[in-house]
């Protein structure tokens, strides 16, 4: 197959994946797996599990990261750009349309009432995201303290959350070093973590 055909296919495949995934994050993984691994045979199972752990740990959305990874493996830099544009374009347009509709209808009293209701649902989605993330994150007393820290700091002083993220990374490295030095048991991940591609597993960051 010619190179430009592969690139077009990458673009088209991820164009379809984008709008079919609500809630973002790990919710996209089963769809990506089906399209990329089973249908197209672009990557094998071993690479798929690398893809999941890589896209989950690197900064940025899982979907965008996965698209970049697959695109790069198949057709280099151009492939990565094509796949990322493919996954971004539909949701970009949908967000613009929503924003447009909102401007148009924001003075409608029914729409205002509906948005107030949705406010409650979005709050629930954010809380659920925090809960699911906490199941992976809070492993001991140190991590429990690190979870409460951003809330306390951000409500008391106005500081860029970037410093808090940086502090988290530093604290993690120092804590693990310290624990090893003291000869304590070190566990950086939940042990009975289910494989993310297991259909029964609870996608830990489902709503992220």
């Amino acid at each position: 197959m010619r190179r430009y055909q592969v690139i077009l296919q990458l673009f088209g495949t991820f164009l379809r994946i984008g709008p079919s995934t609500f809630g973002g994050g790990y919710a996209m993984i089963p769809t990506i797996e089906r399209e990329v691994m089973e249908r197209r045979n672009w990557i094998d199972e071993q690479e798929m599990s690398n893809l999941i752990s890589l896209s989950g740990s690197a900064p940025g959305g899982i979907g965008v990261n996965a698209a970049a990874f697959v695109g790069y493996r198949k057709a280099g830099l151009t492939g990565a750009v094509a796949a990322v544009l493919g996954i971004t374009l539909p949701t970009f347009l949908i967000a613009i349309v929503l924003s447009f509709l909102y401007l148009f209808f924001q003075d409608n009293i029914k729409v205002q009432a509906a948005l107030k209701g949705i406010h409650g649902a979005v709050l629930a989605l954010i809380l659920m995201a925090a809960y699911r993330m906490s199941k992976q994150a809070v492993l001991d007393i140190a991590t429990a303290c690190l979870t409460l820290l951003p809330v306390l700091i951000l409500f008391s002083i106005s500081i860029s959350p970037l410093y808090i993220i940086g502090f988290g990374i530093l604290a993690g490295i120092l804590l693990i070093k310290g624990k090893k030095y003291l000869g304590m048991k070190v566990c950086t991940e939940r042990e009975n973590k289910l494989a993310p591609d297991d259909p029964d597993s609870d996608y830990s960051e489902y709503y992220i």
Binding site: S57, G61, T91, M133, S134, G172
Partner: protein
């Protein structure tokens, strides 16, 4: 202005660990620092971003860019947000990085994950707090708590699809308010 938007979201993109809702406090800080949107406009953007499919972080970037500087602003913000992902993933993929085998990566994730959880928690509390025009015991606040409680039960026990939940909450809002 467009460069400013682009570079701000580029910076945010490089640290958007955990994606989605964890990025809300970071974006919120930058938005109020640059005085791009008011607090209630920002909350509207978060709500709209959750209603659209795809990554929450990218959606918020698109909406804020759009509200700040129209369609070009939306393009700048979105590109700024996705470019770091592209760069980092390509570097890691070309180096054949088996990220899970590096202890220092695991150590940083050990500290990073709880902090990111805390940021999401902060985003939730901030999203809930009433703005200046409202008091704690208004009908709006009570309604929000009721809908939020019901939504959590539906999500947790019945694994309701987020889109259906949003539609149902909208209908609930029309009835309640």
């Amino acid at each position: 202005m467009l460069w400013n938007i682009f570079f701000t979201f580029l910076k945010i993109g490089f640290v958007s660990f955990g994606g989605g809702y964890a990025v809300i406090p970071v974006i919120q800080y930058e938005v109020s620092d640059h005085a791009w949107l008011t607090s209630s406009q920002f909350q509207q953007a978060v709500a709209l971003a959750s209603m659209a499919p795809g990554s929450i972080a990218t959606n918020i970037a698109t909406l804020i860019g759009y509200k700040t500087a129209g369609i070009l602003g939306a393009v700048s913000a979105t590109l700024g947000m996705i470019l770091p992902s592209l760069v980092i993933i390509i570097c890691l993929a070309s180096l054949f990085f088996r990220i899970q085998h590096f202890t220092w990566v695991n150590s940083s994730l050990y500290g990073l994950r709880p902090v990111v959880t805390g940021l999401i928690l902060y985003a939730a509390i901030h999203f809930f707090l009433p703005d200046q025009t409202e008091t704690w015991l208004s009908w709006h606040m009570i309604g929000t708590v009721l809908i939020c409680g019901a939504s959590i039960v539906l999500l947790y026990k019945y694994k309701l699809h987020p889109l259906i939940l949003i539609v149902a909450a909208g209908a609930g809002g029309i009835v309640l308010f």
